[in-house]
């Protein structure tokens, strides 16, 4: 697949996938900068990779099994102390659905 020049729409679509909100100025800058980075990426097209296995991790290790024993690693109080908002031993979040939706 050829790598096309990056446009604003594509950048905004990716931002929404990544759960990011960009200002107009940020979106313009990001479009411009990502496009420059894509110049580095376009070079990769020169390389014949037909039949080459992809590498996802550099060192092969064996999967190790352990006994399935439950451990209580952390106290819930300590964990909840890091939550921005909590109540009754639960983490509190805003409305999941819009009012009236």
């Amino acid at each position: 697949m050829a790598i096309e020049k990056l446009n604003r729409d594509a950048v905004e679509n990716v931002a929404s996938l990544a759960k990011l909100e960009l200002s107009d100025a940020e979106a313009d800058m990001m479009t411009d900068q990502l496009d420059k980075i894509f110049d580095l990426v376009k070079m990769l097209g020169e390389v014949d990779t037909e039949g080459v296995e992809p590498t996802y991790t550099p060192v092969q290790t064996q999967t190790v099994l352990r006994d399935d024993v439950a451990v209580n690693a952390h106290e819930s109080d300590a964990l909840l102390a890091n939550a921005p908002e909590s109540e009754a031993n639960l983490i509190k979040v805003p409305t999941i659905l819009d009012e009236g939706a």
Partner: protein, 485 residues
Amino acid sequence: MDFLKTDLATLHQKLVNQELTVTELVEATLENIEKSDENYDAFITIMREEALAAAKEMDEKGVPADQVLAGIPYGIKDNIVTKDVLTTAASRMLENFKPVYDATVIEKLRDAGAIGVGKLNMDEFAMGSTTETSYFKKTKNAWDTTKVPGGSSGGSAVAVASGQVPYALGTDTGGSVRQPAAFNGIVGMKPSYGRISRWGVIAFGSSFDQVGILSRTVKDNAYVLNQLAGVDEKDQTSSPKAVPDFTANLSEDLTGVKIAVPQEYFGRGVTEEVKATIEAGLETLKSLGATVEEVSLPHTKYGVGAYYILASAEAASNLQRFDGIRYGYRAEDAKNLEELYVKTRSQGFGEEVKRRIMLGTYSLSAGSYDAFFKKAAQIRTLMIQDFQKVFADYDLIVAPTAPNVAYGFGENADDPEITYMNDVLTIPMNMAGLPGMSVNAGFSNGLPIGMQFIGDQFQESKVYQAGYAFEQATKLYEQTPGGAK
């Protein structure tokens, strides 16, 4: 006191002989950090109370004669979690985060009696090579405070180079230990992928990340790796390979050692003074008995593009966890859950982190996956094969660590492509999981130049042996920054 003219073995002997108590050592260390850090801004958090409590305990039970690190202070990059001690990854996202557990590396150093004295500045989530993307502060180079310290482990490098601590932990995903070590004239080792547990290291690119060690000398570095290396049941990718004594067989003789020099590592962008310094370094290695031959690693030039796709894709995935729900920053004004995620992430992450998340998300999205992610992973295979061919005939590869010396703040800030090219000589070792270590090889206008020693997987001993011989032949570690003391 500072640590510019001493080493771990000497300090250890003083503590064991009770010429110095641990409390005196830690007090003096903290005092020097608090004073000198006005110049350097290396630390985000100073662990005064924790360090003094540990020192008192060590003095009460006595310094064990068989633990070289016992009672000696060290610094910790702020993306390594420390129980009950602020751990920010230099991000607004974690500006109030106190972990509920210690990273495995922290546990192991505590087992050895080592005393953590503070958390060190870095590029936000380790993304950057100047430490300028930190949300909190700009760390200054130990040799010239108008220059960047390198990154992302810039705080760790400056803390060691300026004598605030004898060694510090860093992390290296594409050069983040080696390049700041080079910019500050110290030793920076990134071991093989899997050599050290990543449990408790805030993830960036999980198939690239490795804890590294920054120190003044090669032998000090090897002592610390002795303590950190080994399999960990909490990290599936940690290696069960036997851990040798890395301080063994260090000598000044390199007779019979076969060194390969890749021509591609002296190409476009590598400055003349860096080339000349490394060429002189290679002559030194020859004089110690090594043979030096030129080789080719033909896929080197594709490394930067492939790395930024793969590491950013892994980062985009790893950083999904920062959503404002369970810990860290939460945006105030969100009306619903979706808005909470979006506002939290948009306000909590800095510009460079957003750029990498965007690049990674794009690479993994439908329609781009084959041309980006899969292609880059195939090129990773070809780079690994290049290395395998060289290591079939040679013991080590030697090259520059970085194409340039430390530069001014804000230079290249508008052009991420130029900044990314800074990593061209360090990224390949993360792609292939190889150990790489930077050792100071000389100066240009008072700024240090690093030489990189690269070994085959799990051949850290060979890397240390060559680095030690070179360091003893040049004694460059005796030169220390004098500027801002």
